[in-house]
């Protein structure tokens, strides 16, 4: 057996611990990713198969052809993320500071929807929003919906569906970051004659930034690629890029375009995250997280 000096062994130790995780990433992330990159540069047709040809044009064509769906996906995901934040922040704040002995029960309620399948919950919304349903009828009664108006199969329904489905992903990180704020800091602020509003603005909110960051990423990223809500609650005019990728892969069997679209989406998201982190301040984030 190879004998290594204690120092060498010490130096290798971290990599040893990283090993299983790295292996996991390589096998289930990097290899599929490389394979997709390869597929995205192939040409051919669905009948006879595809061969690798360095065909970068697929990317250009894909962006040109599906720019509407890209922009739409980002818009919907952004609106849904903001809505999640607006709803999730007060909720997390309440659970962290005001719920008292009901705290655990309320956290359980937040994650409870996960016990039912995502698709099933979305289909449930289909039933709630249905044209002749109770909700639509009542809204017509009070004039919130025109006689031939509808709730289902609209942009609103899709965004509401995304917001509903991803709300826990926003609430939980917010809760965690609010919960671990040292209360004495807030007390200190009020002792120094800050009003409650100022203490919130100057102390609580900045310390909750890591939670806001994590929550919006956990919401925005999957929301951009979502296709279930658009498929079940929308019409073709609400279809997002996820719907296009799904149909390209499964129905049209145009693998190169589907793979290229996936990479473009990934790039958009990475750039977005980078900019977002810059705006919030990366140093701030890492420091606060510690």
């Amino acid at each position: 057996m190879l004998r290594l000096s204690l120092r060498r062994r010490r130096a290798l130790l971290p990599y040893l611990f990283l090993g299983p995780g790295l292996l996991w990433l390589v096998v289930f992330y990097l290899i599929p990713l490389a394979n997709q990159a390869n597929v995205s540069l192939q040409t051919g047709d669905p009948e006879l198969g595809y061969t690798f040809t360095w065909h970068f044009q697929t990317y250009v064509d894909a962006i040109k052809q599906y720019d509407t769906q890209f922009i739409r996906s980002i818009e919907y995901a952004a609106v849904a993320t903001i809505l999640c934040l607006v709803i999730g922040f007060p909720l997390a704040y309440f659970i962290a500071y005001k719920a008292g002995r009901f705290k655990n029960l309320m956290l359980l309620l937040v994650v409870l929807p996960f016990f039912v399948s995502y698709v099933l919950r979305t289909v449930a919304w289909q039933l709630i929003l249905t044209d002749d349903g109770w909700l639509a009828d009542r809204m017509r009664d009070v004039g919130l919906l025109s006689e031939d108006g509808r709730l289902l199969a609209t942009t609103g329904a899709v965004i509401a569906g995304i917001t509903y489905n991803f709300l826990p992903f926003m609430t939980l990180p917010l809760y965690v970051s609010l919960e671990k704020i040292d209360r004495r800091l807030i007390e200190a602020a009020t002792d120094l004659y800050a009003s409650h509003a100022t203490a919130f603005r100057k102390v609580t909110l900045p310390l909750a930034v890591p939670g806001i960051f994590a929550g919006s990423l956990l919401t925005f990223i999957p929301a951009t690629g979502d296709f279930v809500n658009a498929a079940l609650l929308g019409t073709p005019n609400q279809y997002m890029i996820g719907n296009v990728i799904q149909s390209k892969f499964l129905n049209i069997l145009d693998y190169p375009t589907a793979a290229a679209l996936s990479f473009i989406l990934m790039t958009f998201i990475l750039i977005g995250i980078f900019l977002y982190a810059r705006v919030l301040g990366t140093r701030n984030l890492t420091e606060a997280a510690l």
Binding site: V123, D132, L232, P236, S247, N251
Partner: protein, 400 residues
């Protein structure tokens, strides 16, 4: 057919318990099925002959001969669409012929299924299924590329019961490789109460009064086919320009918000719930939906309707061709075919079954009358390149 997958899966889940009833609702997927019934029905298929020589290549051009000697049946695999078989027939088959059929309901969409097995097929490897059931345009693709085994007709004497008009089809002139499983009409399913009037014409789909209450099938062969009929084009002989023009019309209507969704079989939920008033729909689905909701009706429009056939085939290199042929022969016994038709509610390709199926003999959706038969159009034969253009154009419209 994007949306379908989640909803499809769900519907199947919900209806699973009811499968022993003839429940066809969940058969989702993009497209599907079948026709058959009266020999008459198939008059409509006239157009099917003729055409398509251009496509005939590998398989279709050389005469097929096959010799699959009688052996034990063994354990073999039958791949089909969900809810497309009366399972009692499978049990009876096992009892009568021995062996064990592994019946897999794995075909939800012709293209999706093809994508799954394409690699093995192109490499000439067996795909581990002994019968697959695919719709005309996909069957054509398999025959043209040599992905199918020729049928040994000596093992299928009942093939003589095949209705006259399906005995030859553009991609398989003498049915050397394929045998129809079921056929079906593509017309308009609608809710009488909601529309407030009887629907007769394809153009009713585009009536502004029904804005946002209309769905069309995602499959361009079905939807563009109907639109072409409304434009006075003979859909079974259409060329790519006529098809693209029809897709443009669909695009226009979609931009106006007329069309609510493009679907696979999953229009059934929205139709029964009243969210959709008119759907481009499959005849067999409506037979069952009608039983649950008498307000629903299906019409073969006056301009005509499309007709599709699902075909049984033996994939290249299948391990149990004799078992597969024995099953085909069994399904072509009129008594068995009648039971199947009663269960699936599509049009049977087997002649002389009416007397064995008294319950459905009067149903015009299962046994279409002569005047309807005259108006049924088979799918046009397209070259692979044209088919792809059509599909891409349609994908643009459906936002996918």
């Amino acid at each position: 057919m994007p949306d379908q997958s989640p909803e499809r899966a769900l519907e199947r889940l919900l209806f699973e318990g009811k499968l022993d009833r003839r429940r066809f609702l969940g058969r989702a997927g993009g497209s599907a099925l079948a026709l058959s019934g009266l020999s008459a029905v198939l008059a409509a298929c006239g157009g099917v002959e003729g055409e398509a020589e251009k496509n005939a290549s590998t398989n279709a051009s050389k005469p097929a001969t096959a010799n699959h000697p009688k052996t034990a049946i063994g354990t073999w695999v039958f791949a089909n669409w969900p809810l497309y078989m009366d399972k009692k027939l499978l049990k009876d088959f096992d009892k009568e012929y021995g062996g064990k059929v592994r019946y897999v309901e794995e075909i939800n969409d012709n293209f999706e299924f093809f994508g799954k097995v394409r690699q093995q097929l192109t490499q000439g490897k067996p795909i581990g299924r002994d019968i697959v059931t695919l719709t005309d345009y996909m069957a054509a693709r398999w025959v043209r590329n040599g992905y199918t085994e020729p049928l040994d007709k000596k093992n299928i004497p009942n093939a003589k019961n095949l209705v006259k008009n399906l005995q030859s089809i553009n991609y398989d002139k003498d049915r050397s490789y394929t045998l129809p499983y079921q056929s079906g009409g593509v017309g308009i399913g609608y809710n009488k109460k909601k529309t407030g009037r009887e629907i007769k014409s394809i153009n009713d789909l585009f009536d502004p009064k029904f804005k946002g209450r209309v769905s069309m099938l995602q499959e361009p062969y079905d939807s563009a086919g109907l639109v072409m009929l409304s434009q006075g084009v003979d859909a079974s002989k259409a060329n790519i320009d006529q098809i693209l023009k029809a897709i443009e019309k669909i695009q226009e209507e979609n931009d106006k918000g007329q069309i609510r969704r493009f679907t696979g079989n999953d229009y059934s939920t929205d139709l029964t719930k009243g969210n959709l008033w008119l759907c481009v729909a499959y005849s067999g689905d409506l037979v069952q939906l009608q039983a649950d909701n008498p307000d629903l009706d299906f019409v073969y429009p006056e301009e005509g309707a499309m007709l599709f056939t699902d075909n049984m085939m033996i994939p290249k290199g299948a391990a149990h061709p004799y078992a597969a042929e024995t099953m085909m022969n069994y399904l072509y016994e009129p008594k068995v075919a009648a039971k199947l038709a009663e269960y699936v509610n599509y049009i049977s390709p087997v002649d002389g079954i009416k007397e064995f199926a008294p319950d459905i003999a009067d149903n015009p959706l299962i046994f279409p009358p002569d005047d309807v038969v005259q108006r049924l159009h088979a799918y046009p034969a397209l070259s692979p390149a044209d088919e792809r253009r059509m599909q891409e154009a349609m994908a643009q419209v459906t936002g996918a």
